[in-house]
Amino acid sequence: MADNSHRDPKRTPNGDSESRWRQDFPIQSGEDSYATRREFTKFLGLTSVAFVFGTFVAAARKIWKHWVGTSSEARSVAGLSEIDIGGYKLFRYPTQDDPCILLRLGTNEFTAFNQNCSHLACPVHFDSQAGQLLCPCHVGVFSAEDGRALAGPPRRRLEVLNVEVHDAQVWVEGFEETST
């Protein structure tokens, strides 16, 4: 027999089999399924924590925007003769990031809404034939008169703007307080 005293019987190609990374990538299938299970549980735990945290962040942003960011000063958005009956005009109010839609339903009858669908914030479109606002994403339907949700996934009404007509101009001033 050859002299094998210099050979380390525990030597493996990747060195020490008890190293840290080897615990995460074990060779034994039992330990491997434990590692897989542990990773999956870790994923579930961290994801649910992220969701909870995200919910609070979203809520805080909404509250912050409501109490601080909203200016409700009156603004003229269109001339009275600018829109035909059954027509509409898009504008932004109160900031450049808030798309809104102004509808002319009758001679002196205007309504205005935030254009974001209350479901997943797709922009809603005006269907003057039906007198409804239609969200094309999931076929949500809103009333053009008061923004109530009529059909489809949305449950909440659109955000309604206060509209006034004077001096041959259409003015908007703040959002209507929504009552549930």
Binding site: R7, P13, Q28, S29
Partner: protein
């Protein structure tokens, strides 16, 4: 000693490939053989040797796998690569000291013998051992085998700096304790004859004196 063990005696192999075809015919192997025959030295001999997995205690193939695809079960069987994990890098093909894993191009995955885990785990014999006509592949108890053979089962191998203990036994000389392999034993004898391959490649050897 009622435990069933696997014994390989390459000197009994007659090259009939019955083991390979039995392996292909096993339902769970889907027409693909997980073992193969190797010619010992094709230039001078027709002697073949069946290559089934030796199921090392510390499997080199699993050690080198970068995708974590080869696993060893509690009973010491080294499984074939997991379809979902194997990336076909062939690290195991290069690393295995016995030349067991093979890369299969059409599934882009390596395939190796798992000692018919679906059969042996419920007490059946592996496909290859049941069909081998010369019992080069033998699956049975050690007592049974010792009565029939004069060779000694060896499961301790030394490859250069690496010592490998296996679950599967290789039948060897009666007094053998371990088998020692050195890469130099397999190199061409440059002093006995000029190395024609080295000449073609323009490589310096002692014989061509470049």
């Amino acid at each position: 000693m009622d435990e069933f063990e696997f014994f390989i005696d390459p000197s009994r192999c007659i090259g009939c490939e019955a083991c390979k075809h039995a392996c292909m015919e096993c339902d769970t192997h889907r027409g693909r053989s997980m073992i193969h025959l190797e010619f010992v030295d094709r230039a001078i001999s027709t002697q073949t040797s069946p290559v089934v997995c030796m199921h090392c205690e510390d499997p080199t193939c699993a050690q080198v796998c970068p995708a974590d695809a080869i696993k060893q079960t509690e009973d010491g069987i080294v499984q074939t690569s997991t379809k979902a994990r194997c990336i076909g890098c062939s690290n195991c093909v290069l690393a295995c000291p016995f030349g067991v894993p093979q890369y299969v191009t059409d599934i882009d995955q390596i395939v190796k013998c798992d000692m018919c885990y679906d059969r042996t785990s419920i007490g059946k014999k592996p496909m290859c051992a049941t069909v081998c006509p010369s019992q080069a592949l033998y699956y049975g108890t050690r007592d049974e085998l010792v009565k029939m053979r004069r060779e000694t089962p060896v499961n301790d191998f030394v490859f250069g700096q690496q010592r490998v203990r296996t679950k599967v036994n290789l039948m060897s000389a009666p007094d053998a304790q371990e088998l020692d392999f050195d890469i130099m034993n397999f190199m061409p004898d440059t002093e006995a004859e000029p190395d024609i391959y080295a000449d073609d490649l323009g490589v310096w050897t002692e014989s061509n004196g470049r």
